[in-house]
Amino acid sequence: MSEQQNIQLPEGSIERQTTTLNLGPTHPATHGVFQNILEMDGERIVSTVSTVGYIHRAFEKIAERRPYYQITPLTDRLNYCSAPINNLGWHLTVEKLLGIQVPKRVDYLRIIIMELARITDHLICNGVMGVDTGAFTGFLYLMKYRELVYEIYEEICGSRLTTNIGRVGGFERNFTPAAFEKLHRFLEEYPKALKEFETLMTRNRIFMERTQGVGGISAERAMSYGFTGPNLRAAGVDYDVRVAHPYCSYEEFEFSVPVGSTGDCYDRFMVRNAEMWESLSIIRQVLEKLKNEPADVYHADVPAYYLPDKSDVYTKMEALIYHFKIVMGESDILPGELYHAVEGANGELGFYLISDGGRSPYRLHFRRPCFIYYQAYPELVKGAMLSDAIICLSSLNLIAGELDA
């Protein structure tokens, strides 16, 4: 029997040896098709390479061939957790280009929808953060209230997830009394649930240990990485598009912009929670103001751009003509170039639009917040534990649909 051969390792290699670990694509704890190639030293992350996956759907290219109306369904597939914000953001951009002034009531109704969308987006994100730290309860508990909001959407536009809500100039139809009833029910029930969710999570020892001091980023780095929305505010920068560049009459409402200090996962969670309270408060103020507005106004009087009611299209020649003209993109569009931004649920959602006067945009670019700050991920998780990689990812509120455009 020959002498047993021991494997010869180079000097000091036990300390230096690293392992390559693929986190994703389609890992249950990553969102969408992200691939993060982690270089691990034991359980500590040395470096990361991120790939967003080839899920390109060519929205910007398709938009160059579509009349303005038909671009709306492209936008709500970006951040599908808060689709109405994308829809209305696009409509606001087109209105700005065309110089359409909408009645106050339309602005207010839009704010209701956008704030509801913000709440659903945040509750999913915060719920999922709970799931990623091992607490499934909060997620299941809050999911019920997203359902309530979806019922409100359904009442207004007929669909739930990819809503296609609203039109250039206003809404397709007036909000029904049932929609307001559901809204009141939501406003009554949700605060209790949110309070309970907060009690469950915010002072939870395990949750705090898992999130505090994890994935922190300084205000300076966050700005350099192009962070916006709750992620930037968690780092201590008081920037909110609703305040900095008000749209939809946001300037008429009182709300505070919650900011964090350390920019870690816990701060991001807390900022989102606080924002949900602010959104609820905004909706209440809007409902108060709506009482002074005429109840039958829900769109601007711009027949050349606002799609007529379907029942009119089927019965009146004039409405049919307008409908065709708009759908076929034969209305006059002014040449122009603009960038319009709205405060999406996870950051500044921008639309850079160049019109050459043609039926479709010459160039349309979406500024998707997720795409821009996912590149900070390697820096956030450097030196952290493997389990922190998961919580960092969910705390950024990444939506895979928003990575490509």
Partner: protein, 167 residues
């Protein structure tokens, strides 16, 4: 003191003379053009200047104008000033035959992926970029799909033979 577009324009003209041009204000945002060799100098000036402080790169993309020979590609930067809440649009033009533009990654971390995306779709070659490769399309692609020479079929095109459709 809030920063006015007029003042920004003045400061830029003082610093770069007639090398910056094409000033226009559309929908309240000042827009201007600089030669592509100067893009980093202009951005550095806008970044460092204590008055201007454009320290946030909101957006970076490109536009293809096939008819402008010698300057077919426009790289568009949207810069932002957090203190005065002012937006600025800044463009550099380059030719498709020589699409080299200096990278802004040294100034803004966020430029990294935005430049990769712009390279992926328009073929702008960002000189000095740490990792200039495709990001949303497969690596084997040899063309740049957002350029205008790859049009989609227009679903509403007017060149169809009307007789065939009974019109």
């Amino acid at each position: 003191m809030s920063l006015t577009n007029e003042h920004i324009k003045q400061r830029l003209a003082d610093k770069f003379g007639d090398q910056v041009s094409g000033f226009e204000e559309s929908f309240g945002v000042l827009s201007f053009i600089a030669p592509k060799e100067l893009n980093l100098k202009v951005m550095q000036f806008l970044f460092d200047d204590e008055e201007l402080r454009f320290r946030f790169l909101t957006d970076l993309t490109a536009v293809h104008y096939p008819d402008r020979s010698g300057e077919e590609l426009a790289v568009v930067y949207h810069l932002y000033n957090f203190q005065d809440r002012v937006r600025l649009r800044f463009k550099v033009y380059t030719a498709t035959a020589a699409p080299q533009v200096f990278t802004a990654t040294a100034l803004y971390e966020s430029a990294n992926w935005m430049e990769r995306e712009t390279y992926d779709f328009f073929g702008v070659d960002f000189v000095g970029h740490p990792n200039l490769k495709r990001i949303l399309n497969v690596d084997e692609m040899t063309y740049f799909p957002m350029r205008k020479e790859f049009p989609l079929e227009d679903p509403l095109r007017v060149d169809k033979d009307d007789e065939m459709f009974g019109r």
